[in-house]
Every structure is written in C-alpha cells, then in structure tokens.
Symmetry: C2
Subunit: 225 residues, 2 copies
DNA sequence: AACTTTAACGTACAAATAACGTTATCTTGC
DNA sequence: GCAAGATAACGTTATTTGTACGTTAAAGTT
C-alpha cells in the first residue's frame, strides 16, 4: 500500500457585513505564484498533528490578525491544475466576523489586506473565486435554517441591523413587517431594555441572541423570506 | 514557507436501500491498523494529479467492484489521533447506489464485504462511525430538498418504492396519501404505461424520474413529510 | 404644532400542511 | 362466480403558514 505524500493548505473565506454590504477579507500576495493577485488568507499545514481547523485559525491570525472567530469547513478542493506548483489540496473554511473590534494587520509576506464587496471582487489567485462562490452559496442557505446571521452582528443589535444582514446576504430586500413578525415570533430574540440612537429619528429597541435559549426551542425555526 | 507533506486518504460511505432498510457498504480489514474491524471502503491517494473524487471512485471499485455511482464530497477529517499511524487526513465521500445489478466483489486485502443496516453497525475502524453519522445526517437533509432519493431506486419504480426509501432514511413512517399528493403534484415524476406485479394484489403504476424535467421546473420542490 | 423619518403593530387573502375518510382494482379461496 | 382481503389511488377538511399590503407610534427637526 504505497502512500503518496501530498501538500495540503487551508484557505479561509471570511465574511463581514458593513453598511449593508457583504464583504470578503482578501490578502494581496507579495510572492509567486499569483504574485500581486488578491487571494484568501491561508497557507500550508505545518507541524505534525496540527488539525485542519487549527491551521486555518493560525493562518487567519498570522495573515490578518483576526482571532476568536466562528469557523466551519466548506469543501476540500484537490483538482489537478488548481495550483501551478503541482498537486496541492486545499481545505477551505468559512469564517463569520463581527465588524466591531477588528484590528486588521497584514503579515510580512502580504502587500495588502482589505475588505472587498462579494459582488465586486478583483481577479483572484488559484481557484479562490470558486471557493468564494461556493461559500457564498453556503452562507445564503445557512442563514435560512440556522442562527448564523447573529455571528455577523454585535452582541446588541436592532431588528433593522438584523434585516440588513439578511438583505446583504440574500442580495434582495425583504418585507420589513413580515421579517419582524417572523423573528419576534420565533423566540430566538431576547428583548433588552435599551434602545439604539443611530439615526436622528425614533430610536429602535435593542435585542440580543442567546445560543442557549435557541437550543431549548421545541423545534428549529426557519428564517426564509 | 515550509510545506509539510501529508498522507491523504479517501473514504466512501455507500448507501443502498434494501427491503425498506437503509444499509451501508462495509469492508472487513485484513491488515493493521484495525485488523479484522469493519470500515468504509477507501485508501490512499496515489498517482500524482489524481483528484480526490477520482481516488474515491478508484478505491470503491477496487475494494467492492462497484462503479458508475453518484459521488458527493462529505467532509474532510484531519484531527490528531484519528489514525494510529500519525497524521492522516481523509476526505470522505457519499455514494448512493441502486440495488439492481450490483455485483459485489471484495479485494485481496479484505476479509469481508457486506451491507450493514445503518442502525445496527459493528464497531468500526478509525473515525468511520463519525463519518457515517455525518453522512447519514446529510442524506436525511438531502432527500428533503433534492431528488437524491431517486439515485437509490431502479429506473422504474412505484410510489410505494419511493415512499419506502423515504421511510428507510427518515426512520419513521409518513402519511401515504400526503406523500402521493406531494410527489404527484411536484412534477418530478413521469408516469409510465406500465404496472408493477410485486405482491399478489392490485398492481401499482410505475414511474420514472427525469433529471432534465426536474431542471426545467420553475422553482425547486421540497419533499418534507 | 406640523413635518419627516424610522419603529412597531395589524389585517386579509392565498397557499401549504396535516390529519383524516373513501373508492378502486387486483388476487385468493370458497 | 363471488366474497374476502390486501394494496393502490383519489378526496375532504381544518389548521397553520406565507405573503402582500395598510396603519399607528415615537422620536428629532423646523
């Protein structure tokens, strides 16, 4: 039983919503291959016994200074020709980031680090466009049957903030009144005794999401609009 | 940028439905590690530039003689300790098999090859129980929003056959009349001018599924019962 | 106090779901 | 040939959910 050795990388597709736009975190490459192209943060598996998710976490931290994020495996790409250096398999991960408190910092082997709107991406290195397309689709499904959207929001948020996340991801507007009704009736929102003073009009009530309360619900709510 | 080399395997979780029972195809291992344990058909990535799916197809053929099947990537496991030989990453695949025309044949390095009911599995090698649990869950979701169930049926089948596939996978009975209504109204079934003479009572009409017709539907049907 | 803007609540019809009942068609056995 | 038994196939109703709207409330601004 011959066991060929393989080079394995991890790549992380990190999303955040800012001002109603769904954005992807990209790194500008300083070295070949794909020098000066933008790509996903990621890199090779290192030490013996480093798990895939640990490698994704490490690379994301090294290349962007982002830590403590939600990570979920997307898909593993191993097609011939996806990397000019030969067969390199990559395990891709999805990360969902809260905008608040991020302090981006590029690593030494990057010439840039920036958020890009998911619908206005530059030409990308490797098959990273494919990974983004795949992960974007996954995210669209995910917010419909899981509370993933809350991972993109600060701890306290208004119903409007929540709706903007859904609209940014779905790429369309949803009916404001039906949106409220469904979320308020689902039992996943905890009403706070605070209001937000964002605009200069009527302040909106703040809510928070409780993972524990969510788990206790008799059956899983669905958030389709 | 040091690039550690990694051993990579593929493992395939093959399902079939027989007599109303959802079964998993397992191989009894002749060699260490986990000698004489049952496990999923699979093995190491070989030649340079063999894709993951190609390797899964090859291993499934070599170890079970099964070919021409639907394959879909499940998840890639790379935890420390999942293989006693050290860090070995495995990409797992889901296969859906039609019972008809299968000619199982074990390879030389197996001491057994058999179908096992998904709910009565023996102790399994590596983390294969985890892969099965994961893939079983995926299959449950999959038949609700895709025509995956048809991949487990012969080309011509009765509504009863179809319902038995759903019940075997969901692990519960569903209302016969609502089941018929939803499928007949969904537009995915093509009625044939033939009947099935299975039992010794009233013959049932045969249907077939057309992938092309399915694609043409205005919106995707959902098969939740 | 009137105006503007966002927040929050409410209503009506259509569609889908879920839980049932009934009729039809075949084989078997008398 | 006909009743019995079993599966196939069609139908009905109440309830829930979805969808498309209209209305009122509360803040700041002028």
């Amino acid at each position: 039983m011959p066991s060929e050795l393989v080079r394995v990388t991890v790549d992380t597709l990190a999303f955040a919503v800012q001002q109603g736009s769904l954005e992807v975190l990209l790194v500008k490459r300083k070295n070949e291959p794909f020098k000066s192209f933008w790509g996903l943060p990621g890199g090779f598996l290192l030490e013996e016994d480093e798990s895939l998710e640990a490698a994704a976490t490490r690379e994301l931290y090294d290349e962007t200074n982002v830590s403590n994020v939600y990570l979920e495996q997307l898909y593993t790409f191993g097609d011939k020709g996806r990397d000019p250096r030969g067969r390199i398999i990559t395990a891709s991960y999805l990360a969902l980031l809260r905008q608040e408190g991020l302090e981006l910092r590029a690593s030494a082997d990057a010439s840039g680090l920036a958020w890009w709107p998911v619908n206005e991406l530059p030409p990308l290195a490797f098959d990273h466009q494919r990974i983004i397309t795949y992960g974007y689709q996954r995210l669209k499904y995910k917010i419909e049957y899981s509370p993933a959207a809350f991972k993109l929001l600060p701890e306290k948020f208004t119903l409007r903030d929540l709706q903007m996340v859904y609209e940014a991801i779905l790429g369309r507007t949803v009916d404001n009144r039906n949106f409220r009704k469904k979320f308020l009736g689902s039992g996943v929102l905890q009403e706070l005794n605070e209001t937000s003073q964002e605009g200069s009009y009527r302040p909106a009530r703040l809510y928070c999401f409780s993972e524990q309360d969510f788990e206790k619900l008799p059956d899983r709510p669905v958030f389709v609009f």
